[in-house]
Symmetry: none
DNA sequence: AATGAATGAGTGTTCATTCAT
DNA sequence: CATGAATGAACACTCATTCAT
């Protein structure tokens, strides 16, 4: 931690050594590619076996790089984990903002946020489970670092909207936590259904949170 | 060595010496105490660092016993984990059944189940965080074995009730998962509030699931 | 090792405490029985799994005694091993002496010694393999302590006879070692044949050592 | 992890870097040296204390390497053992074949095989007892993996020859076992004599097996 | 930078032995 | 003496991390 930290995922593509050549040279490309390859591999591995069980060798094995190279890009196993979280949050933020831009009241924000999340989920899903899909049946999508980050993102924005639009008499903490939890759980289920129906899932969550059981739409409908 | 193994400390509770004296002898007392001490320590350790990260040595360190003693009582790290799950389920089941006995429709069952769960949670909480309470801030109560078992219990009963009382047009999987998730999350929050208000938390969950945001009671009210 | 060593197998049946009662009391009987039970169990266990793999618990499990009792009778796992050797030697010595008493020249002594050994082997065999016989197929009778002791016994007597009756020009060390080795190996084989033919085996060894291949009798003949 | 495992140090002997330079690079040299150092150390350790009693740490202690390094080269304690056996057999086979090529009848084959074995023994001896020679007095060369393999080799060839050249009336099993045992024992003794006389030892065994005691040559003669 | 062998603390587990009861 | 729970040093093996090449 005394060192300059070359690793916040915001890749500093142009480093002194690379600048010698006019365009980002092969070196720089390789560097970015390696960094990203490690990240991808780590995503898969963490999602397949969880952080604890995953070994650094599991990760680099999928990249074709060497153990040593891993430590050139990330200082520790934990750092990749964090990088993954950053990465997820960075990818999710624009989606969230795009969808929730014109939402003003709680229901519209809720729909925007949940929709954004489910879309993100559907898009990313294959990144996390590239290939082996049905081989092992991971009853739950593991608590990947990116998911954690995304939740945090939503939780914040969500709470803010709630704050602005709801009367003070509801327990905002409880409500935010509940909504997030429902979204997480339903999102999880959604990922495992075929066909994967993002709209239906969104509708379910919005209805449940807004009007409770009685407001619920039917399934497959 | 897969055989019953008469050598382990475990459970030949009824021996001559025990029968002769009315109360369990000092030996038996110590045995029970140790077994329970290990269980308690394991509960704490698992809840603080999760099963993978927890080491057998972490567990026994808190008991003052030796590594060897651990293996006198449990055959493996996994066995304590399972014992914990059994234990939780065994303690929870009667509570759940007592509360949900006369519930016939979905709302009353929901209230019964959530109430049972929150009561169980409040009661058990100190078992899981004995002492160190605020020392580390475990953002989430970890997925302890007992919690897992309890969830399973509720999920089953819950789904059954749902099945009987709701029209076919709601997505039961989504609903059950959502209700459980909300209960889990709100329960978690409840545990960290002072004063700990079981009734309010129960009321919140029941209201949200039944009638959505608009049906929600105010906080601290 | 500073202690008086209560354990050389030559059982000191009468100990101070036992002498209080006139005849060897129940205590003494039990003591002798326990000591012998441990020895028997150890014999089996060592012969089944070898010294290293055998555990003290394996041994006492077969006696119904407690671990503690084991250490009342023998100071260590190694000590039982040694006791077993002593025991075997002590049982074998009279047999050997009886058979070789009137032997004067080398051939007659050879026959006597080999015969004694094979008889001993046949007799003891069931002690070592009580029950499970064919269950596992121990390609070789394990180098039990008693066997080692018996060999030593024969080797000595053998060398002595050799010394007296053979011209100085044969290599006595080589010869003794060879004869012993042959006896050991053939004895081993003999134990696994059905019917077990002690005479044939003896004849084979005596013939081979005396006259070489050309002097050999046919098998099953 | 049962898969070929590209991560272990082992044997991707032909790599670009190795092919470019004529001689193996320093890296490769070190690797080969370490692998061989471990093998040598294991040979010693197994021969001194036997497989069961030997610990991986005993082995690596003699190499100056770390525990981890051991597992870079061999996947388990058992694997070194097997490697040792393979190694011994591989070294012995050509010697045996060279010597027994033109042997047709039993006596000539016997002399060839025994001679081959004793020569092998004499050559290998220093490998097994490097240094400590007289320090501990290993009454018997332990049943090292290589010895076991070599025996098997001889036993097979031996039995084959026997089969072809001897009348059916001798007990081939007894005879093969006996000859092997004698060779083993005499070889053992030979190793401990100074000067070490391979020819005399061979002569002794051949004479004894062929013609028995009366055919024996004198010692040191 | 890349490589991959080396490192050694740490893991779950076993077992000879001790000792309070 | 008998008992069996407690002890802790070992054991085989793993893995994050370092570092010479």
């Amino acid at each position: 931690m005394p060192a300059p930290d070359p690793d916040s995922v915001s890749d500093r593509y142009a480093k002194l050594s690379d600048v010698v050549e006019l365009a980002p040279g092969k070196r720089a490309l390789t560097k970015a590619a390696n960094r990203s390859a490690i990240l991808d591999a780590a995503r898969e591995v963490f999602s397949e076996m969880g952080f604890e069980a995953a070994t650094v060798r599991d990760i680099i094995r999928r990249t074709g790089l060497s153990v040593g190279a891993f430590y050139n890009y990330y200082r520790s196993k934990e750092e990749v984990f964090d990088a993954l979280a950053d990465d997820g949050a960075r990818r999710f933020r624009p989606i969230l903002q795009a969808q929730s831009a014109q939402a003003t009241d709680f229901p519209s924000y809720l729909r925007a946020a949940v929709g954004a999340y489910f879309n993100f989920l559907a898009t990313e899903h294959e990144l996390w489970t590239r290939g082996l899909e049905a081989e092992t049946s991971p009853i739950h999508v593991r608590n990947t670092p990116e998911l954690a980050a995304v939740f945090e993102e939503v939780r914040r924005a969500f709470a803010a909207t709630l704050d602005r639009t709801m009367a003070a008499e509801v327990d905002l903490d409880f409500l935010a936590a509940s909504a997030i939890a429902v979204a997480r759980e339903v999102g999880d289920l959604m990922l495992r259904r075929r066909p994967m129906d993002v709209t239906a899932a969104t509708e379910f969550v919005v209805s449940l949170i807004s009007g409770g059981v009685t407001a619920l739409p039917g399934p497959e409908h």
